[in-house]
């Protein structure tokens, strides 16, 4: 394994981490707002707040880690993606800012403030859409070099079916992942009503998730034939991903083993996400930028890897402590202990 591949793998793992915890977070915000709107907040809000409160800040760090690491390992991405992404990512930042701060405002400052919960619910739903534009652009065809500077063709981007397929997938997957996780969490809390409601949401969002995921592969055939061919080379990964998807839906349908169901779901996304990533190799931005010509100098690469290893030695035990004290603490999950400041 070359250090370039190690670098991109590490970053891909963190992006996956962000997508998973972020999806739970964004979806939870949306379900929370939806339940407030429908007058059902009594059912969902407690479960959602209990999960989110101690971890909301951590979620954000996964994203920061990803983009800082990206610039660190692959500084040329700043040149290509920085210029072209100004508008979509700025929208993403604004949504993120509204969401993050209004979450804190609602949770810690003004419990039960409807405006705040709507703001963070809606912002969370739009966020995956605005950030997933990056994945669309990376497929190539939307960026042109004019006078040596990359320029994004917005018209082409907004009229491409690929764009919208990825946007719909990001939305459906967000709600699906979140609902499946919260079903498990609510069930652990012994909250039958919330479990039932969330189970229903999980089943509703399962189908659009898998349909759009398959649709994107078809779409790529037209848009980026090289990538399409590469995807076929990794077909066992995608097949496995599909089987795991069936397993998750089956378990949730039968109201059995929600924990295992969420595990299978995580597996489904791992295989699909890494299959997608591997088939994208070696391009960061097709056809301008590969991981090889954008890689940083060897001295910095080694320094970053060393920092990364020491960082993980610090983080993994800390994360474990966090999970043990809240997510896997029975009394906390059931709401018997509420020791917030």
């Amino acid at each position: 394994m070359t250090i370039e591949i190690l670098g991109i793998t590490v970053l891909w793992v963190f992006l996956f981490g962000y997508i998973l915890v972020g999806a739970i977070d964004f979806g939870a915000g949306f379900f929370n707002a939806y339940s407030v709107w429908r007058g059902k907040e009594r059912v969902l809000t407690n479960v959602i707040q209990r999960y989110l409160s101690p971890v909301w800040e951590v979620t954000n760090v996964f994203l920061v880690f990803f983009f800082v690491g990206m610039i660190g390992f692959f500084p040329k991405t700043a040149f290509y993606y920085g210029t072209t992404l100004l508008v979509p990512v700025s929208f993403g930042i604004i949504l993120l800012a509204i969401r993050g701060s209004y979450y804190a405002f609602e949770t810690y400052g003004a419990r039960g403030h409807k405006g705040y919960s709507f703001a963070y619910g809606i912002a969370g739903l739009l966020l995956p859409a605005s950030l997933s534009i990056v994945l669309t652009i990376s497929e190539g065809g939307f960026v042109e070099l004019i006078d040596g500077q990359p320029v994004l063709d917005y018209w082409k981007l907004f009229t491409s079916p690929l764009t919208w397929a990825i946007v719909v997938l990001s939305l459906a997957a967000t709600l699906y992942i979140s609902a499946a996780f919260l079903t498990w969490y609510a069930n652990k809390a012994g909250d039958v009503e919330a479990t039932d409601l969330l189970r229903k949401y999980a089943l509703i969002w399962a189908l659009p998730t898998i349909i759009t995921a398959a649709g994107i592969i078809v779409e790529l055939r037209r848009h980026n034939p090289l990538h399409y061919e590469n995807i076929q080379r990794f077909w066992p990964l995608f097949l496995l991903s599909f089987v795991l998807f069936l397993g998750t839906v089956f378990l949730i349908w039968k109201r059995r083993q929600y924990g295992l169901a969420f595990g299978l779901l995580a597996g489904q996304f791992v295989f699909a996400f890494f299959g997608y990533g591997a088939s994208h190799y070696p391009y960061l931005l097709y056809p301008y930028l590969t991981i090889y010509d954008s890689f940083t100098n060897p001295a910095m690469a080694i320094a970053l890897v060393v920092a990364f290893v020491f960082g993980l030695l610090l983080l993994i035990p800390s994360l474990y402590l966090l999970l043990r004290m809240f997510l896997f603490n029975k009394d906390y999950v059931k709401g018997k202990e509420d020791h917030h400041a």
């Binding site: 800040e57 610039i71 660190g72 920085g82 800012a97 970053l304 020791h339």
Partner: protein, 448 residues
């Protein structure tokens, strides 16, 4: 070609984001230390008031952290969005501290979550106190690493640029650049100082507004002590920063001091206005600039005449310097007077007038903070990487920066108002008297 409009709007947007972010970021660096001190004093003295102080600070802290985190994410991404050419070059050399900053942030985020949700969970308060140490370390180290990045922009080193190619990159040499020690020390010290005066202002305000509870008096005494210590440190490190500038960035010092001609026995200019290249109404302190720059009243200080015009920073930074130093000195004096007065039991330090002065110190310290950062940043114009890359070469070529500027301005208005409204509501609805009464009921009346 470089789009000049984009350069201008990128500068404005970056300045706007950073100016807004540092308000919350500074609180984010300082408050964990203050909470830690209060909790520690509470445990040592077995005084519930201090524990409650820590708890109430922590509660308000969450709101400021939230805004600090999201605006920090904004500036993190804007670095690449607005300055892609700069990040492409600098990323090769300075990625290490940027990366380490995210680890510090991660570390803080994890333990802050745990700390906030484990009040009264442990029988032993010391265990809970231990959780604060990683929070405070994480908060301060984020500031350290990100300041190192900024120091690098002032004094880039650790690489060779040959025919526009970077060679011999050494990330550690880049980190430990000459600007780093004074910058880091000044940023940390002033962050603690700023927070101390902010919290002192709150305590003084509550005392003025009818609540005469001993809780606020304890808060005031603790915060003023910390305020004094760190205003002294800020002044000392400020002096060292002057010496650093004289040695490594003489054009910044000369512009800040309106020191036009290289000379020995250089006087220090305070205040005054600049009209047609002439300094008027300034207070001249003989030899002081030579002392500030080289610790010797007769030393030669390099003036602006040594630099080509296109390398000289805007001269208005002199006003920023005056604002920063004046406020810093006033606050040092105020806290010293307060503590001395308390020790000698002078009546007037507990008078309404004096308390209003302390309330005033809260906003003033933030004015000083902003002025200091603007001085530091505008003072290295026209460079984004001193002597390597000009600001105009680093900016984006996208034509949409002006629209984004409007959007972000709206965002910061919304966040600013939202955070103030929520904070006010949190503390007005639940004044300390009521919380103490509630706790007394729970615990069977052993606190008052």
């Amino acid at each position: 070609m470089f789009s000049l409009d984009s350069v201008f709007y990128s500068r404005v947007l970056t300045e706007l984001t950073l100016s807004f972010h540092i308000i919350y970021a500074t609180i984010g660096v300082g408050v964990p230390l203050m909470i830690m001190l209060a909790q520690w004093v509470g445990i040592k003295k077995n005084d519930e008031h201090y524990i409650l102080l820590a708890r109430r600070w922590a509660r308000g802290f969450v709101i400021t952290v939230a805004v600090g985190v999201v605006t920090g994410t904004a500036i993190g991404l804007q670095l690449s969005l607005l300055w892609p050419n700069f990040m492409e070059l600098a990323g090769n050399v300075i990625a290490l501290p940027l990366f380490m900053e995210t680890f510090a942030f991660f570390f803080e985020a994890i333990f802050l979550g745990i700390y906030l949700y484990t009040w009264d969970r442990f029988e032993n308060q010391k265990k809970h106190f231990l959780l604060l140490i990683p929070v405070a370390i994480g908060a301060s180290f984020s500031a350290v690493f990100i300041t190192i990045v900024n120091a690098f922009m002032n004094a880039p080193q650790g690489f060779n640029l040959v025919n526009n190619e970077l060679i011999n990159v050494n990330p550690l040499v880049a980190m430990f650049n000459p600007a780093m020690p004074t910058k880091v020390a000044h940023v940390l010290g002033t962050a603690y100082m700023t927070t101390a005066f902010l919290l002192a202002a709150i305590a003084a305000f509550r005392l003025l507004r009818g609540s005469d509870h001993v809780y606020h008096k304890k808060a005031l005494l603790l915060t003023m002590k910390v305020g004094l210590i760190f205003s002294i440190s800020a002044a000392l490190v400020g002096d060292l920063s002057g010496k650093y500038l004289a040695e490594y960035q003489p054009e910044k010092l000369a512009a800040a001091e309106w020191h036009f001609e290289t000379e020995e026995n250089a006087p220090l200019m305070l205040y005054g206005v600049l009209k047609d290249g002439e300094v008027k109404y300034a207070i001249k302190i003989p030899y002081a600039l030579s002392i500030l720059a080289h610790n010797s009243p007769t030393a030669e200080v390099i003036g602006l005449d040594q630099f080509p015009e296109e390398d000289i920073p805007p001269l208005y930074i002199h006003y920023l310097f005056d604002i920063m130093v004046t406020i810093g000195m006033l606050l040092l004096g105020l806290s010293a007077l307060f503590l001395f007065g308390m020790w000698r039991k002078w009546k007037f330090v507990e008078s309404r007038l004096f308390r209003w002065l302390i309330v005033l110190s809260g906003p003033l310290v933030f004015v000083s903070l902003e002025a200091g950062w603007w001085l530091a940043e505008v003072g290295r114009q026209p460079w984004i990487l001193r002597n390597i890359m000009r600001t105009s070469e680093g900016a984006t070529t996208s034509g949409h920066v002006d629209t984004m500027l409007v959007l972000f301005a709206l965002l910061y208005i919304v966040l600013g108002i939202g955070s103030v409204v929520v904070l006010r509501r949190m503390f007005i609805r639940n004044p300390v008297e009521r919380e103490i009464a509630d706790r007394a009921q729970e615990k069977g009346g052993d606190i008052r």
